[in-house]
């Protein structure tokens, strides 16, 4: 049993945490790529900015400035600092539901990125700064995993994390490979490595495919791998699993519940393979993932949060 509003806050807490981590990683990879004045560096910058919907920003204001804005601009609702502020605001709303250990990790990180000295720290050493932000977010997830009961609260938060992750990874892959693995805009080796880094996938990828960095393999790994926690298949399986557990306690509902939508998406990914992507391009499948996630999101609201009162009146 938990309050509908609380479930909503935990879900968004998860989403913002994941968003903050992803944005930090994009910025980090992007800044790293610009150290080499090469075409592949420019491609990496373009990928990162396109993945957040601002492909022209690098040329407009310079890549360091673009990265800094992506991290520290409080006026931009999609910056790392705004995401963290919203994550913390949601956490404050549910302060009684999350453990002190979990809260303190997030609060500490929030205080760090909103400190007046943060901008200077960032310009003095952006790599270290972003490394620490990502590490702190991992600490947060670790604290949540090891100190919170793996019940409803935790599941709503995890649901938010995986919903956000599935969509962010889909978006990144759409930018790179919408037309298919071989016809995509990204073919440069260094740029491809950057893509793997942006998905935090380089090391796990190498263990499976060795240092052969191929678009086809990248797609296969980031879309279909069953064990890699950032693949779309893994994320949708998690979404389905958390939703099934959460839906068990909800009284039967005539409408298609979110767990059924999630099951359908999971099945869609199980029955697809990389050959299909090669034939028709990755675009259609990735679009399906994004659209289905949006429908699941709606269904989560209708089932757990903003359900019509008359449907749930006590007998």
């Amino acid at each position: 049993m938990m309050l509908a509003r609380v479930a909503d806050s935990l879900y968004w807490l998860g989403r913002y945490i994941e968003r903050a981590e992803h944005l930090s990683r994009l910025s980090s990879v992007m800044l790293n790529a610009t150290l080499d004045q090469t075409e592949s560096g420019a491609q990496a910058v373009w990928i990162a900015l396109a993945a957040v919907g601002e492909p022209g920003e690098g040329q407009a204001i310079g890549s360091f400035e673009a990265a800094q804005a992506l991290v520290l601009n409080r006026g931009d609702p999609n910056s790392v600092v705004s995401s963290l502020a919203r994550a913390r605001e949601n956490a404050r709303q549910v302060r009684d539901q999350i453990t002190t250990e979990t809260w303190e990790r997030l609060n500490l990180l929030y205080l760090k990125v909103t400190d007046p000295r943060a901008a200077k720290e960032f310009s003095d050493g952006s790599a270290n700064f972003l490394h620490d932000v990502i590490a702190d977010l991992h600490l947060f997830k670790g604290a949540a995993d090891t100190t919170m009961s793996h019940g409803e609260s935790w599941r709503f938060m995890m649901l938010g994390i995986y919903m956000e992750r599935a969509q962010l990874v889909s978006r990144l892959l759409e930018v790179c490979f919408a037309e298919g693995p071989t016809r995509g805009r990204v073919d440069d080796h260094v740029a491809l490595v950057s893509v793997l880094r942006m998905a935090c996938a380089l090391e796990p990828y190498l263990r499976v495919y060795t240092a052969e960095i191929e678009p086809r393999h990248i797609l296969e790994f980031l879309v279909f791998d069953e064990d890699f926690p950032r693949s779309i298949r893994f994320s949708t399986a998690q979404i389905e699993q958390h939703l099934s557990a959460l839906a068990r306690s909800v009284t039967a509902n005539e409408r298609a519940g979110p767990e059924r939508l999630a099951g359908r998406l999971k099945a869609r990914l199980q029955f697809a393979d990389v050959d299909e992507l090669e034939a028709v391009g990755a675009g259609p499948l990735l679009t399906t993932v994004v659209n289905e996630c949006a429908r699941i999101h709606e269904a989560i609201y209708e089932t757990f949060v903003a359900y019509p009162l008359e449907m749930r009146l006590p007998a």
Binding site: M1, M2, L3, A4, R5, V6, A7, R74, E89, R92, Q93, R95, D96, T100, W103, E104, N107, L108, L111, T114, E152, F156, L246, S249, V250, T251, F304, V305, Y307, L309, R312, L313, P314
Partner: protein, 503 residues
Amino acid sequence: MAAKTQTLVDAPTLPMTEAAYLPGIAYDEMFTPEGEVRPHYAPLHGRMSTLGAEELAGRQRTLERSFLLQGITFTVYGAENTTERIIPTDLFPRIIPADEWKRIESGLTQRLQALNLFLADIYGDQQILMDGVVPRELVLGAPSFRREMQHLYVPHKAYANVCGSDLIRCQDGQFAVLEDNLRVPSGVSYMLANRDAAKRTFPGTYRAAGVRPVERYPDLLLSTLKSMAAEWRNDPQVVVLTPGVYNSAYYEHAYLARLMGVPLVEGRDLVVHENMVYMRTTTGLRRVDVIYRRVDDDFIDPLTFRRDSSLGAAGLFNAYRAGNVVICNAPGTGVADDKAVYAYVPEIIRYYLGEDAILPNIETFLCREPRQLAHVLDNLDKYVVKAVGASGGYGMLVGPHASQSERDAFAEAIKADPENYIAQPTIQLSTGPCLVDGRIEPRHVDLRPFILSGEKTIVTPGALTRVALKRGSLVVNSSQGGGSKDTWVLADDSTHNGQGAAR
């Protein structure tokens, strides 16, 4: 000892002599007027003497950092950026010997019992008004009097389930009641957080002193709240109702909900259907039995009280009237902590309990009475004048510290609306040792203990000691630059008569 003192002189910190510490004319908690350390302070005093300025400053920083990290903060919304501030916390505990506490405890119990009986009476047959003990006008004419509460059944006649009275120690060393807070008193989370911090800062001294624990407050609060539920509701569902995350006491609301293990709800989480109160959960509506509300009367129900409130739940009061839910504290308790009714509390205690008040009041002049008004206006430089309806140190004149023009302006305000003002002599609150800018200096303190009242009345053996951090200031409210510190109530006075400092 001498060598240590030497180093401490180099690091100009420690009040080894009365001259260094410079208590004023007020009663000092640590030193007697002769400059002797009071026996119950001896162990702490000893410990203070062994810590250098650096060490103390370090511990102070650690303490503040831990408050910031835990989010025990209030938010200051600025034009440019939003900042989190902690309420300043002093690391030296304030110590109260067992025998003094015994008197405080019985005085507070007596007072709250009488005030609950008073509330039951004025919302019932109004005997006390008919007998002319308290002027009718004062009660029935008060904005905090809720006609809606008349003739409602309140279990155990416990209207004020949580009370946070403000006590002060006067120059003669006696404790007196300055204010009764019966509406939605706050600060208990600071009491608990300060205790947590003090245990980490002075573990040895704490252990040796034999301090009575306050950590049971959350479960005592929960059982008090549960004792208010209807008997036939097994395992009643208790919730804490908060105005929301932007309220300055939000941290405390979340803290209490978490420690009691009950949901923290906002008005929008509650639904009233067919005179029952439910909360919206992920799995449907769930019945609510007891609401520990931290929302003012006016805002709890837009159907019955303020129409424009979005902080409460529409229909809540009707459900309460029907006995289907309990609201704690009961609506309408504010009429008993009204600053003008305060003047009558000793009479109220005598009326209902046939006893003299154990804890005295501060002498109070009611400006509504023409003769008292004239006296107050003639002696504005001697009195503290307070607006009856205001709290938090607002709407207040401290006569001796005000300029002539401030006093003249306030006199006009009083004359325009005399019913709204009371006056009290300026009381020199007692002082206690505080760490200020690396030095230990005396600062004025008050005492806010918390009393729970349901089936039983329980005085928590501890309190929030509020500190006026500005030198010489007598205003301890956090909105006016006050801070707080832990309060140690000793279990037994015989165990420590100043025999050496504990490690």
